[in-house]
């Protein structure tokens, strides 16, 4: 095995039992029962490192967002009570829940738009648009979208 495998070279690796076992142990031997690897990760693996915890929080941001959208849906359902009976959600508890959901929603925005530079490939001539430019563009789009949506909601209520 002194020869190096060149780039792009196709090497045929046979893994049948006729060949003698190789030192790396990648050969299937005949009388060994198939091994299984049960999932042994402890339930609290995500508490072990700060990065794992931040990952978990990032994934969980979708839940408060969905919860707030359900509250919005409840408000839309209240429209059925007519002009006289309609009561918007206005309790202090609703404001507190909204504030918590807002923090999670902003964290989702921050983390996901930062990922945009990693995910998106925008060809520009013979290379791609730099990741930093894509992330900046995404945050500009967020500011513009927030201004437009918030402006329309405020304008609609004025």
């Amino acid at each position: 095995m002194s020869d190096r495998i060149g780039a792009g070279e196709v090497v045929e690796v046979r893994l049948d039992s006729e060949r003698p076992s190789s030192p790396d142990g990648a050969v299937a031997t005949q009388h060994r029962p198939p091994r299984t690897y049960p999932y042994r990760q402890p339930f609290t693996w995500w508490l072990r490192r700060r990065g794992y915890l931040l990952y978990m929080i990032r994934e969980l941001t979708a839940v408060p967002i969905a919860v707030w959208m359900v509250l919005f849906l409840i408000e839309i359902a209240r429209l059925r009570q007519g002009a006289g009976g309609y009561q918007p959600l206005a309790s202090p508890a609703f404001v507190v829940v909204s504030l918590i959901c807002l923090v999670f929603a902003l964290w989702h925005t921050f983390t996901f738009l930062n990922l945009a530079g990693l995910i998106m490939r925008i060809p520009l001539g013979d290379r791609n648009l730099p990741a930093r430019t894509i992330v900046r563009g995404a945050f500009v789009a967020f500011v513009v979208a927030t201004a437009v949506v918030a402006g329309l909601i405020i304008w609609g209520g004025a």
Binding site: Q30, V63, I65, Y86, P88, A116, T146
Partner: protein, 136 residues
Amino acid sequence: MSSHADEPLGSGHGRFAPRPGPNRLQGLLWAGFANAAVLAALVVPAHILVQGVLGPLGIAPSFDRRYSTFAAALSDPLIKIYLLIVFAGTFYLCAHRVRYLVHELGVHGKLTVGLALYGLAAIGTVVAAYLLFTLP
């Protein structure tokens, strides 16, 4: 057992061996997730900020504070469609992320959990569509 041992490893006959070719359903699920996540990232904070905080506190007017403005806005078909897309996207985003979260916490049955969560998201979307498009 002996027939298994004669086969090369990873030949695709085992229980957990992937099928050949791209998994188009997975691709579709992840493409939907990416689009829903971008939509939620761009527009949801504005809704929560104005309708959930500024409006109820009286700092800024909001279209859902009074029946007249709320009903007038929701009578516009474009707003109905926009809100339906936001509801569908956020519910799907939640289902998809929680599905993988549950899996990563060591719970088996990704398919069952996935069907239950996507099903809940679908029910939420149908309810939203019903409420938006049958308003008086």
